[in-house]
Symmetry: C2
Subunit: 256 residues, 2 copies
DNA sequence: ACCTGAACACCGTTCAAGT
DNA sequence: ACCTGAACACCGTTCAAGT
């Protein structure tokens, strides 16, 4: 029932016994560990595993303690509270998204890459994304990523103020759309059990008299692919940015 | 402490006494109300008031009961559970966004209007937006709104499949950005108490050696206005859509 | 038909106590 | 320094009972 995602035993007795097969180079002074076996990293790993296997509501200190083989209050020695834990999860998600992010040969491709990485990380952990959604700010997009994207926009031909503005638009849009898609994924999954997905049928049978335009395209609405849709949004963004970049370059040519 | 947002007394004793000054045309059979005094509408009003005044965490059945002058389990006679209540709150938020929504003279203005309405509703109730964020699907954009927006896109010159696709892109983007902005608002408000807003200063003092591009535009990043930013994103979307609409019209001229 | 009140299983957090 | 175990104030939900 507890899943068994922990790397240690499931009870505190097992945890105590574990001291005996601890690495000798760690040199525990007597038989008690002088260094803690819990660490922020291990706790975050376990938390993500719990959410992804049993859903956002399953993340409780008691469940976390059970999977870690520790008391349910032990986590509080590493995180000030649940809110702090969630903020750390949000930061980890964005770290994963931007891991090894680097500029591409083409500035358009650099922007596209950031957006795709953001989406990939959120969809890889939709449950985590939903729990931390309200604590995810663009602060998470760290300096490293910001510098690369702004570099791409400067390369495209924008001045400082515009580069800053389009940078924020891209990051916000990519992040917001990714979180939104993850939450729709989770919601649909939950609704599939009930009959809440019936609204898709309603769309197809909407009254053509009352909603003529809707009826005209209803068949196409049903089979829209989520990934195509995301690519579509990013494509629109880049097209528009490129259009304005050309104008900016022309403008600068006459006002150098 | 309980706020006093209820329209009835704060205790169940007061609620019972309230029967005596009930309207006579309601004709209560004996002294007990034959019609319930709680209604889904009243409950949702109270729930929104609670969240907006004391934050998302304040929305509990016990608090709701206190403000309504009823037992803390009475709400369960109108909503199956907390999840159902949140889904209803999400639906109400979108109803508010699309209330009296109508097509404008120009199709671009119609698209802009939908986006602005979505944002306005979310920012009018940021706390509510954050609680229901994970239960807000584009299902909420009801047939009425969908028909109008799709009509605008057909008017712009798109065929069925493209109109459907751009409709979804606009609705998803506007909704996702609005939810995101609301959650950033709530997060900043909470962080202002701590010193978590320190990252803004960090941005300004980021190493120009390690992050040259970032340093170049850091001053502009600080004073970006949120509303300008949203308008910017929608403006980019409409520019790109218009660009493609022109192409679609040219294409159709040669293949009618 | 609608509401009450007690009860149940659970939650995050605190704190004195252990090693 | 880190963890335990009991305790506290809360939570959503169930259910028999009232009117």
């Amino acid at each position: 029932m507890t899943g068994g995602t922990g790397t240690r035993g499931a009870t505190s007795h097992d945890a105590a016994a574990g001291d005996q097969d601890r690495q000798p180079d760690q040199a525990p002074r007597r038989g008690r560990p002088k260094t803690s076996f819990l660490s922020p990293g291990l706790i975050l790993d376990t938390a993500m595993a719990v959410i992804e296997s049993d859903g956002p509501d399953a993340l409780t200190f008691r469940r976390l303690g059970a999977d870690l083989g520790a008391n349910h209050t032990a986590v509080l020695r590493h995180f000030g509270g649940k809110d702090e834990l969630l903020l750390a999860l949000a930061a980890r998600l964005m770290e994963e998204a931007l891991d090894d992010f680097a500029a591409a040969a083409d500035w358009r491709e650099t922007l596209r890459s950031l957006a795709r990485r953001t989406r990939a990380a959120c969809l890889a952990h939709p449950g985590v994304t939903v729990v931390v959604a309200s604590r995810t700010s663009r602060r998470a997009a760290e300096f490293q990523g910001a510098d690369i994207v702004i570099g791409a926009l400067l390369e495209a031909g924008f001045e400082g103020r515009e580069a800053a503005s389009y940078y924020r638009t891209l990051v916000d849009t990519a992040l917001a759309l990714s979180i939104f898609e993850a939450s729709v994924t989770m919601l649909d999954e939950q609704a599939r059990e009930g009959d809440h997905l019936a609204w898709q049928r309603e769309f197809l049978t909407a009254s053509p008299q009352k909603y003529p335009h809707l009826a005209q395209v209803a068949q196409h609405l049903a089979d829209i692919d989520a990934e195509d849709q995301f690519e579509n949004a990013i494509g629109l963004f880049i097209d528009a940015v490129e259009l304005r970049a050309e104008r900016a370059r022309v403008r600068d040519r006459y006002r150098p």
